[in-house]
């Protein structure tokens, strides 16, 4: 049986791992390559690296970091942060990333999704969707969660699938950094609406939250950051807990 994936996410700034709470306030959580190696050894199923400051001058730092990660770790990893063109994606994939993730640029220019998928295959293209609850509806936000696009989350998720995305990384901003649990309703709605895998993100605080998001929201994978970086929930402990709950886990 296909296993549910546990994915630590490393937010990168100036080559270091950081994690904000509700996208604000930043703590240093260490060397990304060192963390990546630990996670891989502990049984993480995949890794995601998001460069939260990717600007033109910083991009070279990111590419160098990707080269180092690719040398060190033997599980798949995704890289994102400010990718706005096929060329930028190519550079990161060449450096050793297995997948790239796009967010704001895909909203600005949806044809980018098709261009990436045509060039590299849909399996390489993860579209990140940040969603927030506004006036009784789940809406898509960009710019690190600051700008409401006016797009309905379900409509956008269906569209990105039809444009050629291979996977959706769904972050619910109401939950992000709160450790209050994943948002089940919209995650389930998205997972049921599309035929591609959905990674749930935002709100992981306890082991039970992972049970919930897999059993109730049909998520294919669950992503978290600080609870792993600060070892609040060690990955081996989480995985044996989930196995005991009869969730298919590697």
């Amino acid at each position: 049986m296909l296993k549910k994936r546990i994915i630590p996410c490393l937010d990168i700034q100036d080559g270091r791992t950081v994690k904000g709470v509700n996208f604000l306030g930043i703590k240093d959580a260490g060397d990304p390559v060192e963390l990546a190696r630990n996670y891989s050894a502990q049984g993480a199923d995949e890794l995601v690296f998001l460069d939260i400051t990717a600007t033109v001058e910083k991009r070279k730092t990111l590419v160098d970091l990707v080269v180092r990660i690719a040398r060190e770790i033997n599980i798949p990893f995704t890289v994102g942060g400010g990718i706005a063109s096929v060329e930028q994606a190519y550079e990161l994939l060449q450096a050793g990333a297995d997948k790239i993730t796009v967010n704001s640029a895909a909203v600005r220019q949806p044809s980018l999704i098709g261009a990436l998928s045509e060039r590299f295959g849909s399996q390489c293209v993860v579209v990140a969707v940040d969603t927030n609850w506004v006036d009784g509806e789940w809406m898509v936000f960009v710019k690190g969660g600051r700008k409401n696009t006016g797009l309905r989350t379900l409509d956008w998720c269906r569209e990105i699938e039809s444009l050629g995305a291979g996977e959706i990384l769904l972050t619910t901003m109401t939950q992000d950094g709160t450790k209050a649990g994943f948002e089940i309703d919209i995650t389930k709605a998205v997972s049921d609406a599309v035929g591609i895998p959905v990674i749930a993100s935002g709100g992981a605080g306890k082991k039970e939250h992972f049970t919930e998001v897999f059993q109730k929201a049909n998520a294919d994978a669950a992503l978290a950051a600080s609870i792993f970086h600060f070892n609040e929930i060690p990955i081996p402990e989480l995985k044996s807990f989930l196995k005991n709950q009869n969730i298919p886990i590697r």
Binding site: N74, P76, S122
Partner: protein
């Protein structure tokens, strides 16, 4: 020397990184002569079959690869190209394995992405790998089972996880991305 077939289709660097971690020397090449004299050949690939076959033909590799005499390991799209043909753009394959590549079809998520168990893995390629060990998969097409099938995985349908015929071995999953079990399998290939 291990030769990794470099034909413009896929993330071949990750295969080389994996070999480096295992301390095995490798080179990326599309040169027939270098492929013929290598101790072993790895034939990786991701992406679309018709494009990949075109890349092979342009380099004359469609004639070279099926005639290699040393151990060859196809990975992912490499496995699919070693079959007779693919439904993906009706691409003709290299005809080493007597089976056809089909598209997943059903009420489940596609691509088949993530870790899934590999069954029946009793061949030397899987030496010291637990039966039902999980390997990492990413694919939307699969090779049906045939007499060359040496291990299977089930995702909607039961398909060839690994094939072997004479000196040709192939795996649908990505050993270079499958953590420790993947490294074990690559070591087994290097020792074959």
């Amino acid at each position: 020397m291990i030769a990794i077939v470099d034909y413009g289709a896929g993330n071949i660097r990750s295969v080389q990184n994996a070999l480096n971690r295992l301390g095995a020397e490798s080179m990326l090449t599309a040169d027939a002569k270098q492929l013929n004299v290598a101790d072993k050949v790895i034939f990786p690939g991701v992406g679309a079959a018709p494009y990949a076959m075109q890349q092979l033909r342009e380099r004359g590799l469609d004639q070279v690869i099926p005639n290699l005499q040393q151990p060859v390991l196809g990975i992912c799209l490499g496995l699919q190209l070693l079959c007779n043909e693919s439904e993906e753009g009706n691409a003709a394959g290299l005809g080493v394995f007597d089976t056809v590549v089909k598209q997943f079809d059903g009420d489940f998520k596609i691509p088949h992405m993530g870790w899934n168990e590999v069954n029946g893995n009793t061949y030397p390629l899987f030496r010291n790998v637990d039966s039902q060990a999980d390997f990492y998969y990413v694919h939307s097409y699969f090779a049906g089972t045939c007499e060359d099938t040496i291990a299977t995985t089930t995702y909607g349908t039961r398909f060839s996880a690994a094939l072997q015929k004479d000196n040709f071995m192939a795996v649908q999953f990505h050993p270079e991305k499958s953590g420790q079990v993947g490294e074990r399998l690559l070591l087994n290939f290097l020792e074959s």
